[in-house]
């Protein structure tokens, strides 16, 4: 059975925001994915992103998460830096059973929660035998 499997995405590069070709690099957010009988739940960590900086796009069964960090950079000199300034990005291939019209998203304290319900058509059901 196909799942919300992850497709090939950009490598996780927390340091460089641009590589030598000047192409944009992204941070790959860590995710948890669960499947219940009604659908899937995907949680992605994007600290610094709020709902204004979030783009979720769906194209040909491919779900793309893109998060831009809000303005949380102090106007001061950086003495030590471990976090990245790069946007977050990750692409998933969706199980065709997902009802893409009913995907629900919310973001709270930098954690995006996506609920991807399965369409009624594919939910397990019992066929009763008529007399």
């Amino acid at each position: 059975m196909n799942t919300v499997t992850q497709k090939e995405t950009q490598p996780d590069l927390r340091t460089a925001d641009q590589n030598q070709n000047g192409r944009q690099q992204f941070v790959t957010p860590e995710v948890n994915i669960f499947e219940t009988k009604d659908g899937y739940v995907l949680q992605a960590e994007m600290p610094g992103v709020n709902k204004d900086g979030l783009d979720i796009t769906l194209e040909n069964n491919e779900l793309t998460l893109h998060g831009r960090r809000g303005d949380q950079q102090p106007k001061a000199t950086a003495l030590w830096r471990e976090s990245s300034l790069a946007d977050y990005r990750r692409v998933f291939e969706l199980d065709p059973a997902i009802d893409t019209g009913k995907i629900d998203a919310k973001i709270d304290q930098g954690v995006l929660t996506l609920r991807l319900p399965k369409s009624e058509r594919v939910k397990p059901r019992k066929v009763t035998v008529s007399d």
Partner: protein
């Protein structure tokens, strides 16, 4: 999911080589079972090390930590001997009924980071704010630590 295809008997098991191969596999699995238990999910052996940034301007030191998905009350910030400690615990998420886990990359558990501050700060004026999964701590420098303009009268 399989299509509505005709059922076909698998003749693979008739090949004697497989039986021995699976036997060996089971043997190996049993041998490594204790280790597999240890490394499962890999979270038991690795620690949550949230990214920390330190900034400075003329009035204060600013420490920023990426702590997505925490509850404010589960974050502890303390100042001791010129070092700032940020620690806390992320409790495991709500469990979904009959859920099967496909990916589990997010950390659960305790973290602890300590930052040695580059200059003395007024402990009673420290402010912390938690927003969009980012903890921002502003530590005003003591009056003595702030850069001063010294006027020199040239005679």
């Amino acid at each position: 999911m399989s299509n509505l295809t005709r059922w076909q008997r698998s003749d693979l098991s008739a090949w004697p080589g497989f039986g021995r191969l699976f036997g060996l596999r089971n043997e190996l699995d049993r041998l490594f079972e204790p280790f597999a238990e240890l490394t499962r999910g890999s979270q038991l052996l690795s620690v949550w090390n949230p990214a920390v940034d330190v900034f400075e301007d003329k009035d204060s030191i600013i420490v920023k930590a990426e702590l997505p998905g925490m509850k404010k009350e589960d974050i502890d910030v303390s100042l001791h001997d010129g070092a700032l400690s940020v620690s806390g615990e992320r409790k495991s998420e709500e469990k979904f009924e009959d859920a099967e886990t496909y990916r589990s990359e997010r950390f659960v558990g305790r973290f602890h980071r300590t930052v040695t501050l580059p200059s003395p700060v007024s402990a009673d004026k420290v402010k912390a704010q938690y927003k969009d999964g980012i903890l921002m701590i502003t530590l005003p420098k003591t009056e003595e630590a702030k850069p001063k303009q010294i006027e020199v009268n040239v005679a």
